[in-house]
Symmetry: C2
Subunit: 374 residues, 2 copies
């Protein structure tokens, strides 16, 4: 059900593409807001559309625990359940089990863990991850992978990468054709070039419809993250969509899109919105800061979102200081739209083959530096 | 700036009217959702319009403490501040000071109290209440009145009613013409017919553009509340809008509109929404109840709100159980629309002179009984 084409490509490998799904077309590079439990926190599906969001990420692990994949299937699948008609990608739970490591028993078969919700014991295997995401009926599912907590530990990274390949083979056997849900494999290999290269080659041989880079931004230095991010994308099949998991500060997006990543997700725009940190073209602002108490300006003059069209910084400051729900909603709406606008500009710059100039202008306005300039 | 006309009237005194303000026309009887701090909790102004809300209530007392009436004036007035272009009515703080009685020193001049926010000392007088609401620039302000904690204590009720009249006289002198803000006087008099009659006559002589009934639903039995509500409305000038403060369970609205009240406010639809209690034509449901976990139906088949058009009870149940913000937003949106639909039906029944049949049908479907039938 999944199609992908590259429309334009830069000399550095950045590309403007198009992903076709049963629930609509996604112009790439694309950023997916995170809706872990089947809701992008605080926003209605109508507000997501208003912010020009084309695709979202949910979490199959969390949804399988509550309300249960079988339940969502009975209720017509995840799209219908959450009222979102656009494409959905789900993460399978590899990262969640990694971050709950103390409560997880991991072996070759899969993971056994106790739910943080009710203490009941659950098992997650590569096969079960495929089944769950098919029950949800999502457009793109992620294979169940193995992360390491110290990406610089070579032996652990090698073992995790090898198991990730064996699990990808099991997933492929369990789901020889992808059906309604297309499954992406996740590359591992820590911070080691040869492990990443070997892992990418093994996964590519299994011919999945898309690939992700996993296991980065788990505590290592940013310079290491970015070096590996640039190296890793070049190892993946160019004709398939390439997804960088979980990374997405604005400066990350600008750098990563220059190297050829096509898909992104990150909690930053939504979590920051709830905390009162809002994005502007000239950097982030903390709306709770007293400096905004009498400021009649919108958050960002250049932004066309409902929040910026309707409210002053002073009003958002007031709502945030009073702990009003609407503060979180309006800030999230703005941040999500800010991200989509940034992606629109990234796509335009890639299509026009003006990416280096665009990126330089972005950093000079937004502040901070690209990793390679830093 | 305020106009009011009665379009149709029933034999029992119920009336279909129209209130003209500088910010638009309000078809009456009308229900105002409560936006204490300048936000109807969880809803954007766009969502309020989508729910067909025509007028809202805010609280001048709370807004004067934070962010301050002077601040809101500097920012262009309350309408602009909160992005709501329709009419706004503000309560002045009489009820808030009554409910904080232990921290308030009340005398003939006014009230001195310590803010619950910062412990600073503030003074509220009838004159100051007028000034604050003019600074906010609202369409309708309420005079500062005096409530009693035991409405059945005749001596206290008589004293409070007499002071309320003296304060209304001071307010009238302070604001001889109403300017952009029209001020409504609030009738007091506890549960005593002759005190209410005397109070109503004194206030009517001051010729305010509208009148409210206050001091009810403060702990007395519902039968007493409703008996006095019916008696009191008949004491007020028929050519002016008549506002029942703070009462608004659905069955209250159906009864009170039969007797000739024109305006209402109540926290029930919004507070209940946040708590997961949703209104339907056949009564209230608690969405957190396990009975809804697999229910594909909307909250109310007959409702045209975004929530009912888009989501199942099962999804709302899931959101509420996970503590997701969207649960409160979607439930509030539904409840607010439910109330507006009820008011539309009430207005249609009054206009068609079919109110008794309408009320009987309402109670037979919704459950419960009218006070007079009970």
């Amino acid at each position: 059900m999944l199609g992908f084409e590259v429309i334009a490509e830069t000399a550095r490998g950045g590309r403007r593409g198009r992903l076709q799904t049963a629930h609509g077309t996604v112009e790439t590079p694309a950023f997916m807001p995170v809706g872990t439990y089947g809701t992008v926190r605080g926003l209605t599906p109508a507000q997501l559309l208003e912010a020009h969001v084309s695709m979202i990420l949910c979490n199959a692990y969390h949804l399988a625990l509550r309300p249960g994949a079988e339940t969502i299937k009975r209720l017509g699948g995840l799209h219908r359940f959450m009222g979102w008609r656009g494409p959905i990608l789900t993460d399978s739970g590899g990262y969640q089990l990694f971050s709950l490591a103390a409560r997880v028993k991991l072996d070759e078969r899969g993971a056994v863990f106790r739910s943080h919700l009710d203490g009941d014991e659950y098992e997650l295997t590569p096969e079960r991850a495929v089944d769950v995401q098919r029950q949800l009926g999502v457009d793109i599912g992620m294979l169940f992978d193995v992360l390491v907590s110290v990406p610089g530990d070579r032996r652990a990274a090698a073992e995790a990468a090898a198991r990730t390949v064996r699990w990808a083979e099991r997933s492929r056997r369990h789901a020889p054709d992808s059906g309604a849900t297309a499954f992406f494999a996740i590359m591992q290999g820590g911070l080691f070039d040869e492990l990443r290269a070997e892992n990418a080659a093994s996964l590519a041989a299994l011919d999945f419809p898309g690939y992700a880079v996993g296991g980065l931004s788990v505590g290592e230095e940013r310079a290491e993250t970015m070096r590996m991010a640039e190296f890793a994308v070049g190892l993946l099949p160019t004709e398939k969509p390439r997804y960088m998991m979980g990374m997405g500060a604005p400066r990350d997006l600008v750098e990563l899109c220059g190297w050829g990543y096509d898909l992104f997700d990150c909690v930053i725009p939504t979590r920051n919105g709830r905390n009162g940190t809002l994005f502007t073209r000239t950097g982030e602002i903390s709306i709770r800061n007293a400096a905004h108490a009498l400021d009649e300006r919108p958050v960002d003059d250049a932004c066309d979102c409902y929040t910026c069209r309707t409210f002053s910084r002073a009003y958002l400051h007031h709502l945030a200081k009073r702990g009003e729900m609407l503060a979180a909603t309006l800030a999230t709406l703005h941040n999500v739209r800010f991200y989509q606008t940034l992606m629109e500009e990234i796509r335009a710059a890639l299509a026009a083959d003006e990416y280096e100039r665009f990126a330089a202008e972005f950093f000079s306005t937004y502040g901070g530096t690209a990793h390679e300039l830093g």
